[in-house]
């Protein structure tokens, strides 16, 4: 294209006067980029316009600048010289914002105390519950023991009742005559009328797991096993099976559970009915 002709068309002047359509403006800008001559011409005309504008201006009234600058004051970004006046504002802001901080601190402290108390009381609760359970167990054990004792007492009481009320003979059985246990001593209490037999162990060695002491009533029909004797229950009455007639009582060591007939070699004690 003819650049000179384009420059002379007057379009550039109208461009600077802002009188071109958007499409024409784009065209001028594009061409100015492509052709330095056009850009140069634009710059020169602009300079001329600026100089002309300047020359045609009146003397501005006094205070015009001050008024404009004052009206723009709030638009300006805070500069360096403004900082000292800004600083106190900032501290003012801090004071304004700060109330949430003590609240937050107070809330945190309350939370910490509450948590601490919760943990303390929870541990106390569990501790107390444990103690309570232990006491309940202990109480149960004691109740059990009491029941046992009560039972034993009732048993003993009933035996004593029978012993006192009945017509019991005391038959002393001793081990002096035999090799097994020289110092063994067991008493038999026998109510012949009621056919009741009790024994009370005074001294009898304990046995291994495979053996039992067996009590024999020796009558007209020979020895009859009337029960196993517990050597550990000393000085308590152990009820045996009923016997109507007996001339003597004896204890032998028999295999676990007792035997049909006594093992005479292992005779421990013997006592004759007086």
């Amino acid at each position: 294209m003819n650049i000179q002709a384009y420059i002379e068309s007057g379009k550039l002047e109208l461009f600077l006067l802002g009188e071109l359509s958007d499409r024409e403006r784009e065209e001028v800008l594009a061409l100015a980029k492509q052709h330095p001559e056009i850009q140069k011409e634009l710059d020169e005309i602009e300079e001329a316009m600026l100089a002309f504008d300047q020359a045609s201006a009146p003397i501005p009234s006094a205070g015009l600048k001050e008024k404009i600058m004052a009206d723009l004051e709030k638009d300006f970004a805070p500069g360096k010289e403004l900082k000292p006046t800004v600083a106190p504002e900032e501290t003012g802001k801090v004071v304004k914002i700060s109330p949430w901080k003590p609240f937050a601190v107070a809330a945190s402290i309350v939370a910490v105390i509450a948590s601490g108390l919760a943990i303390y009381f929870a541990s106390k609760f569990y501790e107390t519950e444990e103690q309570f359970l232990a006491l309940v167990q202990e109480q149960e054990v004691l109740a059990d023991n009491l029941n046992q004792v009560k039972l034993q007492y009732e048993e003993t009481d009933s035996r004593l009742d029978r012993l006192v009320a009945g017509d019991f003979k005391r038959v002393e059985m001793k081990g002096e005559a035999f090799e097994m246990q020289k110092d063994a001593k067991v008493d038999v209490f026998w109510d012949q009328g009621q056919q009741e037999v009790f024994i009370a162990v005074n001294k009898l060695n304990s046995l291994g797991g495979e053996y039992d002491y067996q009590l024999w009533a020796i009558g007209p029909d020979g020895p009859v096993g009337i029960g196993l004797v517990n050597p550990g229950e000393r000085f308590t009455l152990q009820q045996m099976q009923a016997v109507a007639e007996a001339g003597a009582f004896a204890i032998t060591i028999e295999p676990k559970g007792g035997s049909q007939s006594p093992t005479l070699e292992k005779l421990v004690v013997l006592g004759e009915v007086a």
Partner: protein
């Protein structure tokens, strides 16, 4: 200050840059307005608003669409034309043409700035009648070139070439102003 720096400073709302902008361009921009509105008080009022508009609208200025001064001058020119066409301004406040304008200037001059150089009056004398006519209507009365073409039945191309010729004369005499 480079134009680039100037624009950056304006966008950063830097007070010193605005001060610089005012010092460098206020006279010319006020000139743009004063050519259209001869009442100095009203012209300064328009300039006040236009200058504030310039600093506030700087973000919408695109460097690729032309130089900063052109953008600013057009804002001032359009503000002045808007004011001129509004009913606020009385008929008597309008300039009647170059002679009134030049007379107005001379009546208040006497200051060294206007004594120096050939001045606007002499500059206008450099133009022929046709050139003076388009300059008067475009620069002093706020007409667009198409308005001149329509109103005075001058072909659009002729208006354009006369504006061009007038500005060439101004350009030529720029150093003498």
């Amino acid at each position: 200050m480079q134009e680039e720096q100037l624009i950056q400073g304006l966008r950063a709302r830097d007070k010193k840059t605005v001060d610089y902008l005012y010092e460098k361009y206020s006279r010319a921009l006020l000139g743009v307005i004063f050519r259209i509105i001869s009442d100095q008080d009203i012209a300064e009022e328009v300039f006040h608003d236009a200058f504030i508009k310039i600093t506030r609208k700087i973000d919408s200025y695109e460097e690729s669409k032309g130089r900063l001064y052109t953008w600013m001058a057009n804002i001032c020119r359009n503000s002045a034309i808007d004011k001129l066409r509004s009913k606020e301004i009385s008929q008597s406040s309008k300039t009647n043409g170059i002679d009134d304008f030049v007379y107005g200037l001379e009546s208040q001059s006497g200051t060294e700035e206007h004594v120096e150089g050939i001045g606007v009056k002499e500059l206008m004398n450099e133009l022929n009648e046709d050139q003076k006519f388009v300059i008067e209507y475009i620069y002093f009365k706020g007409y667009t070139h198409s308005e001149i073409s329509e109103e005075f039945e001058i072909p659009l191309g002729t208006v354009k070439s006369r504006v061009r010729a007038a500005l060439l004369v101004l350009k030529k005499n720029i150093d003498r102003i």
